[in-house]
């Protein structure tokens, strides 16, 4: 099939959602121009996009739901079942200082000129075809405008019910000057899930994001975060991924203002015994403002043929002096069959900066294991402890202690089940 035919087939597989006609048409055009990705594309060399490219979705059977996360957190819960908003299961979409609209129903004036623009900005210098596809086709999602400090978190719960579901969700979040919001995300969402989140963080605003990607084995997901961070603003995102046949998490964070901070972290655990595990983090952080601070902390624990990849970049634009950029990607290979492929990049066009990156791969440290064993800790428990300590740097990026504890508990549970 010719490249353009493949794009047309992919675009016509689902009807686009309503509203944002101009932005959707522009995105469809972008996608047609860049084509769907292939293995020969530099940023897809380690992840085969074939299963994401096909117009039809490969079926994935929903698994029994796990105990819900963040049940105790004071939050406004919004449920999507196979990508469709579920009013009965969701809370009332009303909160002081926060306007929430549904992409499937409305096109608020504030969103018209914004929808798709951050995604478009994220297409240079690297093409992100599934981001453009998302803008063009998304059928549902939330349009959230925050004007003050939100009194509670927005808790997005994704439920996978149909084995052929192929949802495309797009959330657009705009934090006005000095506003603050926490967004939580959990669940597997569908057999194949394409999600984009555009986050515009204005001056002095603070955005926190904690995501737990579902434990379902057969699901495939491709997600994008496109963020723009203004002066003195803060952006923080943490993702925990456990299992999943294919997960590609892309992030493009543009630090535009001076004195802005952006941290993005991820912990992924894969056990090939449950089925194939392929996890890909592709992260771009660009610095255009002065005195910006960025951190990328990505950790992976892999066993039984699980595969993890990391492609990260700190891109310091000319004039972004006094940038402090840090990036670490590490993986712990628990056996000989698992693989870690990494490309930690720096691209720097300003001289008065401090940028560093590190990447390590290896097995559990025998000396540390021996130390714990010699103090009477059973081997499996000792290994679990060492895995947790390996992941600590990523988990520490979560500021809220209660949320952090929930994540750690989920991790401990996973480790106990995968000894």
């Amino acid at each position: 099939m010719a490249a353009s035919e493949a794009v047309t087939a992919r675009l016509s597989a689902q009807a686009p959602g309503p509203g944002f006609g101009v932005a959707r048409a522009a995105a469809a055009e972008r996608l047609s121009a860049m084509g769907l990705p292939g293995r020969r594309d530099e940023y897809w060399r380690w992840t085969d996009p074939a299963a994401l490219n096909t117009p039809e979705v490969a079926p994935a059977a929903p698994e029994p739901a796990e105990a819900p996360l963040f049940a105790e957190v004071n939050s406004l819960k919004v449920v999507f079942v196979d990508g469709v908003f579920d009013a009965d299961a969701s809370d009332d979409l009303a909160m002081a200082g926060v306007e929430i609209a549904r992409l499937a129903l409305e096109e608020p004036a504030w969103a018209t000129g914004l929808y798709g623009t951050l995604e478009e900005a994220g297409q240079t210098p690297v093409k992100r075809p599934f981001g453009a596809l998302n803008t063009a086709q998304a059928t549902d999602g939330l349009l959230i405008r925050v004007t003050a400090q939100a009194e509670k978190a927005i808790n997005l719960v994704y439920v996978h019910k149909s084995e052929a579901s192929d949802p495309i969700l797009h959330h657009l979040i705009k934090l006005e000057e000095g506003a603050e919001l926490t967004v939580l995300e959990t669940g597997p969402a569908g057999a194949r899930f394409n999600k984009a989140m555009e986050v515009d963080v204005a001056k002095g605003a603070r955005f926190h994001h904690i995501r737990v990607q579902g434990a379902e084995q057969d699901r495939r997901a491709v997600t994008h975060i496109f963020a723009r961070v203004a002066e003195e603003a803060l952006f923080k995102s943490f993702t925990l991924t456990v299992n999943g046949k294919l997960t590609r998490n892309e992030a493009y964070i543009d630090i535009l203002g001076d004195d802005a901070v952006a941290h993005i972290a991820g912990a992924a655990l894969g056990d090939g015994k449950d089925g194939p595990f392929h996890h890909d983090d592709t992260v771009f952080v660009t610095h255009a403002g002065l005195r910006g601070e960025s951190r990328q902390v990505f950790k992976k624990v892999l066993k039984n043929g699980a595969l993890g990849t990391f492609q990260g970049k700190i891109w310091v634009k000319p004039g972004a002096q006094k940038t402090d950029g840090y990036q670490i990607s590490q993986s712990l290979l628990l056996d000989d069959d698992s693989q870690f492929l990494a490309k930690p990049e720096l691209e720097i066009y300003a001289d008065d900066v401090k940028c560093s990156h590190g990447s390590t791969t290896g097995a559990i440290d025998d000396t540390a294991l021996f130390y714990l064993r010699s103090r009477g800790v059973p081997e499996e428990e000792a290994k679990g402890l060492l895995v947790l300590s390996f992941l600590a740097d990523a988990i520490d990026e979560i500021e809220d202690e209660a949320l952090k504890e929930e994540i750690v508990a989920r991790l401990e549970d996973w480790l106990a089940r995968h000894r």
């Binding site: 530099e42 693989q339 492929l341 990049e345 720096l346 720097i348 990156h357 390590t360 791969t361």
Partner: protein
């Protein structure tokens, strides 16, 4: 110019300023006036046949070249490097240029055209079997017996002479031009040529396979420690000429050789192409050290001219316990595209890569290494120091790959970048592929600017600004400079200072 500012600011006398200015310019930018013989411009099957004929090659060699040529025609120039690459017209340059006096190959060095000998004399590489790298301070104190270096001198498309051939032959070492080797040692060349860098490895290597005109050949027999260092000195002299040389080094079981490579070219307004291939085969327990000081003309302050340097260098540690060490000091070339690599095929083999890459003015460098771990217990170490100044872009690009079979292997990578000025760029693009868990891979990279405190300290003690920067930069490069053979280390140290001239102030 920074030196003129110094003049006004501190009232340094005119003589000192001139001395500094002269020191700062590219020393090797002069040209030898000599009658040349050219093949017609451009590349075609006829030109490939012509080069083969000029070298008096056997049929199999011509076939080999033609295979490469036919493949090259179908290939595309790679565009993945972080280089702003001007369009190269491959039909607008000479692929073969030799001094007329070389048409009849001289039988010994005494018969070589005195003009050519004078050229190398002036470059500090006298083609006499007595002294080595002249112009190196302290060289006269070195025990000459121990520090002899055999030189193969390549001038445009041909090798003009090889020194110490007889002495090396006594030890069983073959050191000659590759064109001679094809005639005199076809069995060795047939066996190893293209076995590390296949004919059609990449665009530039394929072009080289089709049209390489000369280069050096080394064979060190089993159990032999090569009695002296070997070196090849490449000089591009003719205008609009590409240099395509091929080096093949075979180090047999238990042997050892240290090999040096130097290169310079005249200053010209138009860019010139250089596409070389170096292949190294290292057998059981053998060891090769390969050091390069690459000082091709880098182009002028406005970025005009300079050499486009596209080089494929690869060492194959084919059998157990083979060792290779690449050391490179890259100060020249307008564009550098070069990734000396190690294939660690045998068990317990090891590869090391030490690199200093300096890019000033409008230079662009995309350079690094590949460490492919295939055997068990293999070790590799990468130390790369990139320095950018002026408007230059400097990229480290590397691959560390641990195959599933490469159990208990180890890699350590350290890439540091130093930026001098706010118009330049420093980039790091490492690829890390780990496919077993008994191996450990560590990668670290930092980017920083010249430390103000260190500069201030030097300045406070009366060290001039440029000299202070050179001192700090030399400190930054120390790990790599220490890995170089002594004469090269001294040359490299002063080169570091010269390459950065004009970047401060």
């Amino acid at each position: 110019m920074a030196t003129q500012e110094t003049d006004i600011r501190e009232g340094v006398d005119r003589e000192t300023v001139e001395t500094v200015q002269n020191m700062g310019s590219y020393k090797y930018g002069w040209e030898t006036e000599i009658e040349m013989e050219y093949a017609p411009k451009g590349i075609s099957e006829e030109i490939v046949r012509l080069i083969s004929k000029k070298n008096d090659e056997p049929e199999w060699m011509l076939e080999w070249r033609l295979q490469a040529y036919h493949r090259w025609v179908e290939m595309k120039e790679p565009d993945w490097a972080l280089l702003d690459l001007p369009k190269i017209d491959y039909q607008d340059l000479y692929y073969y240029a030799r001094p007329k006096s070389m048409v009849e190959k001289p039988k010994s060095l005494d018969e070589v055209d005195p003009k050519l000998l004078a050229t190398y004399e002036k470059l500090g590489i006298p083609l006499k079997e007595q002294m080595i790298l002249a112009g190196v301070e302290g060289a006269e104190n070195i025990n000459l017996e121990e520090r002899q270096v055999a030189v193969d001198a390549v001038f445009d498309s041909v090798s003009v002479g090889t020194t110490f051939k007889e002495k090396l032959a006594e030890a069983g070492v073959i050191f000659c031009s590759i064109s001679e080797a094809i005639k005199d040692h076809p069995e060795l060349v047939k066996k190893y040529l293209g076995s590390v860098v296949p004919q059609t490895d990449n665009y530039f290597a394929t072009l080289n396979s089709a049209c390489f005109s000369d280069g050096s050949f080394v064979y060190v027999p089993p159990g032999t420690r090569c009695p002296m260092e070997l070196s090849t000195y490449f000089r591009i002299n003719a205008e609009n000429t590409g240099q395509f040389e091929r080096t093949l080094i075979v180090c047999d079981k238990g042997a050892y050789v240290s090999y040096l490579e130097g290169c310079t070219a005249p200053k010209r307004d138009t860019a010139q192409l250089h596409a070389a291939v170096v292949e190294i085969v290292i057998l059981e327990d053998a060891e090769v050290k390969y050091s390069t000081v690459q000082n091709w003309f880098p182009g002028d302050e406005e970025g005009k001219g300079g050499i486009y340097n596209f080089v494929t260098k690869r060492a194959d540690c084919r059998e157990p316990r083979a060792k290779v060490m690449w050391t490179q000091v890259e100060t020249g070339s307008a564009i550098t595209w070069k990734y000396p690599s190690c294939i660690l095929r045998g068990d317990d083999t090891s590869g090391e890569f030490y690199s200093i890459a300096i890019a000033n003015n409008y230079q662009q460098a995309d350079t690094g290494t590949k460490m492919v771990h295939l055997g068990k217990n293999t070790r590799s170490r990468i130390v790369s120091k990139g320095i950018s100044a002026g408007q230059a872009q400097n990229t480290y690009r590397g691959l560390v790959s641990m195959h599933p079979r490469a159990k208990n292997s180890r890699n350590y990578t350290q890439c540091d970048s130093l930026l001098i000025g706010d118009k330049c760029g420093a980039h790091t693009v490492p690829y890390i592929e780990v496919k077993n868990n008994s191996s450990r891979v560590e990668h670290e990279a930092t980017t920083s600017k010249v430390d103000d405190d260190q500069l201030f300290y030097c300045r406070a003690r009366g060290v001039g600004e440029e000299e202070a920067v050179a001192l700090v930069v030399n400190g930054f490069c120390r790990d790599v400079l220490q890995a170089l053979p002594m004469e090269f280390a001294m040359e490299a140290q002063s080169l570091v200072a010269i390459s950065l001239e004009g970047s401060v102030g």
